[in-house]
């Protein structure tokens, strides 16, 4: 449940570029990943793909709600994403919309904990125009204070539609409970009071643009009916003069969690929810921690798992069961989520999950099931990347997590290295009650069975 909450010739000659081309590594990704870093540190990634006439143009900016360290500024990265559509001197809002419409592309943007992604998928023959439009706003964004104040209402509208859902309320409360110092304590849309105060933050928005919308924080990914020469040429022409900035930031470190925490949402007439959220690792391809947790999520909790067959299929106490973690730059949460039939079964379901996790810590998993899980993950990925958008999206993940799209191969190679021993080690280090936040939805004002859930084990 939780994991479901979860969207860019001449100058080239004038400004010589670092044309080092990082070769694609061997691995699961079946297409060449052609990278060029311009002199201004802007990384330009091209993946030629057989999608006649269509290209996906992504710009990943490594700024998200994780970077909202200042008091009263939660939700600002997302709000700023909205402002990026408010025009420039060359293309004021009306003109921008007109040109965008003439391109006939699917264009949008989305923000999350660690990044903001701008994407435009459309006619590959219009790539030049796409580059021109994107470079103009990334380098020359200009909006009035009046437009700034007005846009805030749209964010409020987004909050309002999202938070009609009890799942979103639980998601917000869970992260706010699990994190005390780190900025993952607020969700990407921000706290309501900060959203309401956004119209008063015009000056800060100028500062925000100056800090983050810089080539060293950005990567361009183009996938589809294109050549690297064409993409690089356009990147140099339109983004070559984009100047690097100087802003550096320290994100508060989350102190070690030493006790089980609890978050509850009261909701009448709604299926009860039990969500166990453990502090997980930061994403890296340099060790197997996240790979092992991904394997556990699939092997131990998917439709083929014993606990799924017992609780969902045979006993019908649980309507939906799944487990997994968001891949995040800093340590995030790895969750087991169960939507129950009756709230009276919550203790039993919690005990079943606890028992399974204890077993993962003490007994090696079946080697055949482990190999099947690796196969499942590999084929699942291979079947997903069958269009330019999905391919660009897949590489964008790597860009914001590691800075390098080619780590997609290492990410999947790491799954192959996961052994039963690694799983036991990872379960023992991460799936412990002192790192746990239990969150629930039920009709109770306060959940009365807290003690039965062994919260203070």
């Amino acid at each position: 449940m939780m994991k479901h909450f979860i969207i860019f010739l001449i100058i080239g000659l004038l400004f010589s570029c670092n044309t080092e081309q990082k070769a694609a590594e061997d691995g699961i990704f079946p297409y060449p990943i052609l990278q060029t870093e311009l002199d201004n540190q802007l990384n330009v990634v091209t993946v030629p793909y057989n999608s006649p006439g269509i290209a996906a143009f992504y710009i990943v900016v490594r700024v998200g709600s994780r970077n909202e360290i200042e008091e009263g500024k939660t939700g600002f990265a997302h709000f700023f994403e909205h402002m990026m559509f408010r025009g420039t001197d060359k293309y004021p809002k009306e003109k921008y919309d007109e040109v965008l419409k003439s391109i006939g592309a699917a264009a949008n943007a989305n923000t999350w904990f660690d990044r903001t992604v701008y994407h435009m998928t459309g006619n590959a023959e219009m790539l030049d125009k796409m580059f021109e439009l994107e470079a103009d706003r990334f380098m020359n964004l200009k909006y009035s204070e009046a437009d700034f104040k007005v846009e805030a209402g749209a964010v409020k509208g987004e909050y309002t539609k999202n938070y009609a859902s009890p799942y979103m309320k639980l998601y917000e409360k869970t992260y706010n409970t699990a994190f005390k110092e780190h900025t993952y304590s607020h969700t990407t849309i921000g706290f309501w009071e900060d959203v309401v105060d956004m119209p008063n933050q015009y000056e800060y928005s100028l500062e925000f643009f100056d800090r983050w919308y810089r080539p060293e924080y950005s990567t361009i990914i183009v996938v589809g009916d294109v050549t690297q020469d064409k993409v690089n040429s356009l990147a140099r022409e339109y983004f070559g003069e984009w100047e690097p900035g100087t802003y550096k930031q320290e994100i508060p470190v989350e102190p070690e969690q030493n006790e089980t925490r609890y978050a509850h949402i009261q909701e009448e007439n709604f299926p009860p929810v039990l969500s166990l959220n453990y502090k997980g690792p930061a994403f890296t391809v340099e060790n197997l921690d996240m790979a092992a947790l991904d394997v556990i999520g699939s092997l131990a909790f998917s439709e083929r798992s014993d606990i799924y067959k017992k609780l969902v299929v045979d006993e019908r106490k649980v309507r939906q069961l799944n487990a997994g973690g968001f891949n995040t730059v800093d340590p995030g949460l790895w969750s087991v989520d169960a939507i129950l039939v009756n709230k009276e079964d919550m203790t039993e379901v919690k005990n079943e999950i606890d028992e399974l996790i204890e077993k993962l810590k003490s007994e090696p998993v079946d080697s055949v099931e482990l190999e099947q899980t690796k196969s499942h993950m590999k084929y699942g990925y291979a079947m997903n990347i069958d269009n330019p958008d999905a391919i660009a999206n897949s590489l964008a993940w790597q860009v914001w997590l590691t800075g390098n799209p080619a780590t997609v191969n290492k990410t999947y190679a790491n799954y192959d290295k996961v052994t039963p021993e690694v799983i036991m080690d990872v379960a023992n280090r991460f799936l412990v009650s002192s790192k746990l936040t239990v969150s629930t939805i039920s009709s109770d004002e306060k959940f009365q069975e807290a003690e039965d859930l062994n919260l203070d084990r």
Binding site: G104, G122, K149, G153, A154, E158, T160, E267, Y379, D386
Partner: protein, 512 residues
Amino acid sequence: MKYLAFIISLFVTSTIFGQEVVELPSASTKVVVKLAFKNGSICDPEGKEGLTNLTASVLAETGSDQYTKSEINDLFYPMAATYSTFTDKEMTTITFQVHIDFLDEFYEIFRGVLLNPTFAQSDFERVKSNMEVYVKEVIKASSDEEFSKKALEEQLFSGTGYEHMKEGTISGLASITREDVINHYKNYFTRNNVVIGIAGKYTSSLLEKIKSDVNKLADIDPAIPTLGEVKMPDGIRVQLIPKPNNLGTAIFTGYPIDINRASADWPAMAVINSYLGEHRKSYSKLYKLIREQRSMNYGDYTYIEWYEAAGSNQLPLTGFPRSQNYFAIWIRPVQTAISLTSQYPELDGIKIGHAHFAIRMALMEVERVKNEGLTQEEFDLTKQFLRSYMNLFVQTPAKQLGFLMDAKFYGLENYIDYMNEAVAQLTLEEVNAAAAKYLQVENMYITMITDQAEAEPLKESLLKNAPSPMTYSNVVKESLGEEIFEVDKKAEVFPMNVKSVEVIPTTDLFDE
């Protein structure tokens, strides 16, 4: 354009064993197969609303004569192969996706489910329980936007085969037995009402097997009920559904239009619709007026056909062809009075939030387009946009296949190709004539999911056609130009032909 030629050149259709087959061979290692049955929730017997969708849903969650569902899960797990079903008003599609490395192995197991599903009592009860909790609780609590759409359709299609949502009603689901599901599968998922679609690097022997197996389904001509007449309402009929402490009012409106993808006026209305409210596009008129200029919500769009899961999809899905459509306006949640007064002291005392003003603003624009039409410049730009944009609907083999199969429902070969040509041929006069013919603001249904405290004041305001001045916060008000307020003065008194307003508790929805 060359990519259109690419798509067109690759698909072939044929008729074998009486079943139509859409083939889309490609180098893709993912093979996608769709079996599209012409049935849908219109086939649900009276008193058993939800039967077709439940039958399809249980099929996806049950075993075969050889394997239980759990055993099938075990077998398919290493392949990452999936199969699922999707039901709409007039069609159910079974889709499977598998890598070519496992094609034969997968299909041998899948065919058992297709031909000899067990519909085990426990699988039936499990899936039915999930469907019941969706209809009774989840749809009413998890998204006011989806809730408003399902509730609107229940009003708009009242007394016809489209009335109940595909998931069913509380009493309809309660009365469905396992035997009903078994019989419904036999009678409505037959060799005589199915189109086979296949895409990817499949083998001819696989296709032959699929054809042969589909031919083993029951040799029954399903009795598909007629839809019945979908009547234009007399005046504006409003349904208010209050919920406690709601920050927003979700709004969805509609009135029937007698055109579909095969109609001569469809391409012209597609241009009008795109201009007025293309889904999730910032350059359409309603979005500009309500969201961009006035800061009222997250987005505002119009539709001339159903858009599945619109809240989570930027591009359209497939599998829901309908012979009857309606013109719809989707106004995403606008602020309620409790939300506004809690944020802004200057708005203290207001009883109604932005809903009444928002719907008036939308209707005023629809009426303007009906009367004035598009300018040549607007027409040319929208045409150019649509011809390029619609190609993005078919970026994957699965989407290409889905659009081709939906086209068959309407008697078309390739909808995307057809629209590209048809839109190119349109003249401004044709488009503006279509706007004059199909747009209107006098008669429609409106559903609003709103705040408990706002329902009665809003009802009174709507019934009295009372002025509904926009209540801006000071911070927004000081940022707006005089031209905005000039338009607002007209919008706040825009006459609405409201004939009835009903306040309906959530518990009364989808009960029978």
